[in-house]
Symmetry: C2
Subunit: 394 residues, 2 copies
């Protein structure tokens, strides 16, 4: 009687932290939870100007209200292509990063096929992946990213995958970047075994230390789908992102995306295009200001943890992105108990187990993910103070 498709029946319910935490947290809890841009760096005034300019230009206004190309606005694609250093034909505008991931999955992952993923993994990807499969091959995350050698051994042993998924820059949750050498090795492995690499890169612009490991090797490959978005820079509310695709995948992705919802909103694309092309370096300045703010917040958070809870965590200083991923050093501490006490003390974070790709391996059980991006330095210090209370209340 339900009449649901097998696809619909196979999609799991929301789970994990969000549901759990809402039940236990104090109303004034400090949430170090989501990868959310700081309101302070969202360019509201520039948006107001770009938006007013659009509506005051009759031809552009009417054009933005009509149908437009499924690939996206040519002007926006050109601007992105220049930044990515690829031909504009290879850029497809999406409704944000998750949309790019799902389009990639539906295009290159056969139903029921296996996909290699980081362990720990961004759980949103596993969630999206269910539109095609729930068979994953967890690949350990090392200090220089996705363990390509581990995957190579599994493939040599006969395992077959449709795709390998990783977050190459400022991994969520694992904080690390994939080294240039591993990028090259991963692309070569994809060539050898005929799978696709889905490189999910929403934090890439937000570097504030260390050295960029480069995306040219991805763009030179016929096997990499590089997914990016304006979500972490201009805001999630736009739902505007992009894919850099190998040429042969552009038409298949367009055929699919055109069916799903025709094209990304032309109004939003028109405003975003006016924003990013407003001045030669407007976007560079925006992301530089955002990165500076996130560097400060990452520093405040890590510093407060060192100061108030010395030796309690293994901490590496982030080089970019929105997250601090720390490991409890004391093996006797129960992470679930700590999480409950922290929530009761008025501080929320994501417990590491939420990010486990392989629940049996329990690789991230003893980790905590702190999102520092949308909390002020004062809030971050207060959050650590409350966390220290949670430790002493145990």
């Amino acid at each position: 009687m339900s009449g649901l498709s097998e696809l619909a029946r196979g999609l799991s319910a929301p789970r994990g932290f969000v549901v759990a935490s809402q039940a236990v947290s104090a109303p004034d809890a400090i949430r170090l939870v989501g990868g959310i841009p700081a309101p302070e760096v969202l360019p509201v005034e520039a948006i107001a100007r770009a938006s007013a300019a659009l509506w005051q230009d009759p031809a552009a206004a009417v054009a933005s209200l009509q149908y437009s190309a499924p690939h996206g606005s040519p002007g926006l694609r050109n601007w992105i292509a220049e930044r990515e250093d690829v031909h504009p034909d290879r850029i497809v505008i999406t409704n944000g990063g998750m949309h790019g991931l799902t389009l990639a999955v539906l295009t290159v992952v056969e139903r029921g096929a296996t996909v290699a993923v980081d362990d720990p993994v961004f759980p949103g990807f596993l969630w999206a992946l269910e539109v095609a499969t729930d068979r994953i091959l967890p690949v350990p995350l090392e200090s220089d990213g996705f363990d390509v050698e581990h995957l190579a051994r599994r493939l040599a042993a006969g395992e077959r995958i449709a795709a390998a998924y990783t977050v190459p820059d400022f991994h969520n949750p694992g904080q690390v970047c994939l080294s240039a050498a591993k990028r090259q090795a991963l692309v070569e492995l994809a060539d050898r075994y005929g799978f696709h690499v889905i490189a999910d890169d929403p934090y890439r612009e937000l570097r504030f230390a260390g050295k960029d490991q480069g995306v040219g090797v991805f763009h030179d490959s016929d096997r990499v789908i590089h997914v990016n978005t304006f979500t972490k820079t201009l805001g999630p509310g736009w739902r505007v992102g992009w894919m850099v695709l190998p040429e042969r995948l552009v038409e298949p992705v367009i055929r699919l995306r055109n069916r799903l919802d025709v094209h990304t909103g032309a109004v939003t694309q028109a405003i975003v295009e006016r924003l990013v092309t407003a001045g030669d370096h407007w976007f560079d300045q925006l992301v530089a200001a955002a990165a500076a703010l996130y560097r400060e917040r990452a520093g405040v958070l890590a510093g407060a943890l060192h100061e108030r809870l010395p030796g309690v965590f293994d901490i590496r200083a982030p080089e970019g992105g929105l997250f601090l991923w720390v490991r409890l050093t004391d093996a006797r501490l129960d992470p679930a108990d700590l999480f409950r006490r922290a929530a009761a003390s008025g501080v929320l974070y994501q417990p590491g187990e939420f990010f486990a790709a392989d629940p049996r391996r329990r690789s991230s059980d003893r980790h905590l993910r702190f999102a520092y991006s949308d909390r002020t330095p004062g809030e971050l210090r207060e959050a650590v103070r409350r966390l220290a209370v949670a430790f002493t209340s145990g």
Copy 2:
């Protein structure tokens, strides 16, 4: 080596009119082609005001730039629910009508299942349907819509379908409305055989004659997915629409839509919400003005055809919507030849064969679809003059 999923391999290339016509038409051709809103009735000034008000309200501006609920903005859902006379929980905001159709298909149509569709049919639906199946059961369109008795006989004979698709108001391309009696009969049939009805209703607001056949029977049913959109009223460029869902389908649709692209853009929803809630009757006045303009254009087109090409077409006066669907009365005329001559004379329309659900039945080969919505009265008269030239040049 291609590595494309079966889904991606199964999606057909763009086809039909658009590709063909671009090759043959004069640069100054008058296009009576797409179901596109008239630029004159797109409320650019009101949008400019709503948009400026949003960006001048710091809290609302920042909220619109962040993540929001996958169901859509509560305010916009409430406004729609009141118009639809259903509980707001049953409204899901989509990225426009096509998105609603695809979500419906992926949620209730098993891969490879059969779906009953109007014949003639909106080809965009067959295009979207390929994400699940290419097996269709064409159901003739009568002067009062989808032939429910025909479908009942096929079902009684053992045929099984996952869903039945129709455009109940101002059918595209067939111009007709589904009668109240047939709406009731279709819903009862869906109950008896356990299929879903996908009611695609983008033109519903644009009535300028005749009597509304009502959607209450759809909303009272547990079997109807009612898909609507702001595309034909506020413009396609927003990519904002909605579904009215039976309660039991809300969660499955949300699980899917959340995976595909998280949620419809919060910026666009915030502007659209401010627009439609700007005054008690703002939207009513907008659609009334649009309907009056389309009534005039439909009248000009039909009048010019009667005057310049008397007896050449069977013509029924439209009661709403954007299209005139006429049939050639002279069986000796070759429609393909006429189309080529019309294009050479500088007028483009959609030949009927493009809309055939069952190519063998050739039910619409002798029809022409004229879209009058985005052409001025002067252009419509000139288009008919050119069409008359095409007839005499044969």
